[in-house]
Symmetry: C2
Subunit: 438 residues, 2 copies
Amino acid sequence: MNDMKQKDADHLKALVQRRQRLMGNAYRLFYDQPVHIVSGKGVWLYDSDGRKYLDVYNNVPHVGHCHPQVTDAICKQVNTLNTHTRYLHELVLEYAERLTKKFPKTLDIAMFACTGTEANELALRLARAKTGASGMIVTENAYHGNSWAIAQITTTYETSEKRADNIVTVPTPDSFRGLYADDEQAADKYAAHVQTAIETLAKRGLKPAAFIVDTIFSNEGLPTVPEGYLAKAVAIVRKAGGLFIADEVQPGFGRLGTDFWGFASQGVKPDIATMGKPMGNGYPISAVVTSAPVIDAFREHSHYFNTFGGSPVACAAALAVLDVVEEQDLQAKALETGSYLIKALKELATDNKLIGDIRGSGLFIGIDLVRDRMSREPATIETEKIVNRLRELGVLIGSTGQYDNILKIRPPMVFSKENADLLLEKLGIVFNEVGSAD
Amino acid sequence: MNDMKQKDADHLKALVQRRQRLMGNAYRLFYDQPVHIVSGKGVWLYDSDGRKYLDVYNNVPHVGHCHPQVTDAICKQVNTLNTHTRYLHELVLEYAERLTKKFPKTLDIAMFACTGTEANELALRLARAKTGASGMIVTENAYHGNSWAIAQITTTYETSEKRADNIVTVPTPDSFRGLYADDEQAADKYAAHVQTAIETLAKRGLKPAAFIVDTIFSNEGLPTVPEGYLAKAVAIVRKAGGLFIADEVQPGFGRLGTDFWGFASQGVKPDIATMGKPMGNGYPISAVVTSAPVIDAFREHSHYFNTFGGSPVACAAALAVLDVVEEQDLQAKALETGSYLIKALKELATDNKLIGDIRGSGLFIGIDLVRDRMSREPATIETEKIVNRLRELGVLIGSTGQYDNILKIRPPMVFSKENADLLLEKLGIVFNEVGSAD
C-alpha cells in the first residue's frame, strides 16, 4: 500500500470509529471496506477521493441520483411551503389522483406516510380494523420494515422476543430452491401452506387479518414464482376472511418493465398496496392505496395523521418522479435494458459455473450463485467475495436471499445498456477470479 | 356573502370533496372552514386568496416557515447526494455529535429515523431488549404516534381493539385539574399511581420495560406538573427495572426557553430520549438518543436500518436548524417572548373569566378555558368557537387536552413580541365576543 492509499485507509478507519462512537453498533455498513460517498449523479456515485462507482444497487434514487427535475421541484416547494395534511393543499390531491390512476379502478384512495415501515404499519392497522381479525400470514425470509409490529413480520431477521401467536410463516414460492423446486405442482403445493397457516391460526383461536408479501419476494431472493401461486394463495386467504396486502416498496413504479406494480406481474389484485422507497427519489414519502370500505372500517375507531406524510414538498418530489418516469418512458427502458442484461448474463453463465440461475424482470435481476450446479449449494462465501471485489472495481452491488448468495441488481431506472456493458465486463473479471467450486 | 366570498367558499368546498374522494375519510382537517395554505414565511402563512395568517400553532417549522438557511442547506445537499447510512457520510456524524452534545454526558449515542412515531418505535424496541420486559406505563390522554404499538400507548384516542395487557395508564400529573388538583401532596400521590401500575403489571405476570411520557405532557393539556413528580415516578420505575423514555417530540429544541429539553425542565434524566417534529424544520428526520448499554442489548438480537433516516439531506436540514437556533439564540428569545406573552395573558385574564389558567414556558403556552372559575368546568364548546373565530381573524391556533378546552400556543420560534401583541389583540376581541358563561 502506498502512502496515499494508506492515508485513505486511515481516514476511512477513523470515520468508522467515529460512527461507532456516535451512532452505536446497531447499524451496519456495506462492504468490508466501507465506501465514503460524497456525491451522486444519475447512476454514478463518487467517493471522497473522487473515485467513481457504478450504482447497481440503489432503487431509492429511482430516476437517478440528484435528478434535476426532482431536485428543482423540491427546492421550489421547500422555499414556498412545507406544512401538513390538516390544511388543504393541491399538490397532495394532484399526487393522490396521479398515483391512484396507476391502480385497478377499485383501489382509488391514497393515504400518505414517510417510510415503507409506516405504510406497512398503516396497512396492518387497516386490515385488522376491516377484518376484526389479527392473524398475519407472511413468507419466510421476508422484509417489511423496522417497527415493533413490522419487525415481527420481518422474518428475515430474528427478533429479541418470540414472534407473537398471530404470526404464521409460509415457505417462499421458489421454483429453483426450497420445498418444491422443479416441481410442476409447485404453485398448488406452496399455496396449500397458506391453507395450513390458516388452520394453525384457527387452532390458536385466531382468524387471518392479512396475507402480506413483497409481490416479487425481493428479500426472499427474487425467486421465479410458480405460475399462478399468488392468485391461489390470495383466494385461500380471502375465503378465510383475510385481506391481501401487496408490499410494493421494492417492486413498484415500473421497475419490472412488464408492469408498473409487482402484483400485476403476478396476475393478482390486492386489497391494500403499500409503497415507499423510490416514490420521492430519496425524499421521504410512502403511501397506502386501498378502497373506501377498508378505510371506513378503520375510521370507525381511529383516524390518521402523519406529520410529514404527504407534505407539499414530499408530493412535489413524488410528482416529479412520476413525470420523469412517464416522460422518459423508464418502464419500457427498464424492460429493454433488463432484457439485454439478462440475455448477456445467460451468455456469461455458459463459462461461469458459479452462476446457478438468472432471474427477474426489467431492472430487478437476481443472479443465484452456486458451488455446484447439480446440488445448487448456495455460494455464500463466494458471493460476499464478489460483492466486495466489485466494490474495489468501482461497481456497487448487494446480495440477498436466505443464504445471501444472490447478487441483487436493482439500479436507478436510468441505467443504460452502456452501464450494463460495464457491469458485465466487471462481473466477467470477478467471476473468473473467484471461479467456481466445480 | 358577496360573490367573491361565495366563489372562495365554493372552491374550498370542491377541494374538501376532492380530498375526501382521493384520500378517504380517515384524515381530519383543521377548522370548520378549512384553510387552503399555499405559502409560508417566518411566522406567516398565506392562503390561496392571498390572505395572511399568523401561525401560532406549528412547531414543525421551528425556525420559521421556509427559513432560507435551512432551505439553502436542503437544496445544496439534495443536488449533491441523498443516500443512506450504509455508506459513510460526514454530515450524519457531524449532526450526531452536535445533537448528543445537547444531552447529559451518558446519553451520547444517536440513532436516526424519519418521524416521531418511528423514534418512539425504536425506543420501545430498545427498552424491551434492554429490560427483557414488555410492560409499558403511559399517562392518560397521551399522544406518541400512529403505528400499531405506538397507537396502543397513544391513550388520547380509542383503538379499534382492546389495549394489550402490557399497557397500563396512570393519571396525568395535573395541578389544576384531575385527581389531586390543588393538593400539596400531589407529586407523591400522582407518583404512587406509577407504583400501582407496576403492581398491576405484576398481577398480569409482567414487568415494566418503560415509563414513557411527553416530558411536559403536551397532549394531556400542558399541565403545571407538581414539583418533583417526574423524578419520583422515574425512581419508582427504575427500582422495578424499567427505563424512562422521554418523548421530546414536542418539548425539545429550546422551545421551553428555560431548558433545551423538557426532561431538564422537570429535573430528570432519561434512559432514552426521542425527538422529531422540529428537528429538520419540516424535512422528515427524527432521532433516539441513548447510551451504549441500551443499544448493545438491542444489538444482541437485532440491527437497525431506516432507508431515509439520517440521510445526508435530512442531516443537512437538521444541522441548519441547530445553527439558526444557536446563532439567533432562539431559546433565550423564546423565554423572553413567552414570558412577555404569559404576563400579558394574565392581565387579559382579569377581565375575561373564561380564562381559568395560564401555564407553560417559553413558546409553549396553554390557556385553560373554563365555564366557571370555581368549578373549573372545561369550556369545550367555547374553545372550539374561539379557535374557529381566530382563524377568521387571521390567527391559526389549536386546542388540546382531555376536554379540548386548552388553547395551544406553540408557534415557530421566531415568534416576536410584535407577533405576541397581534395575538393578544385578536384574543381580546374573541374573548369579548364569546364571553364567559359566568
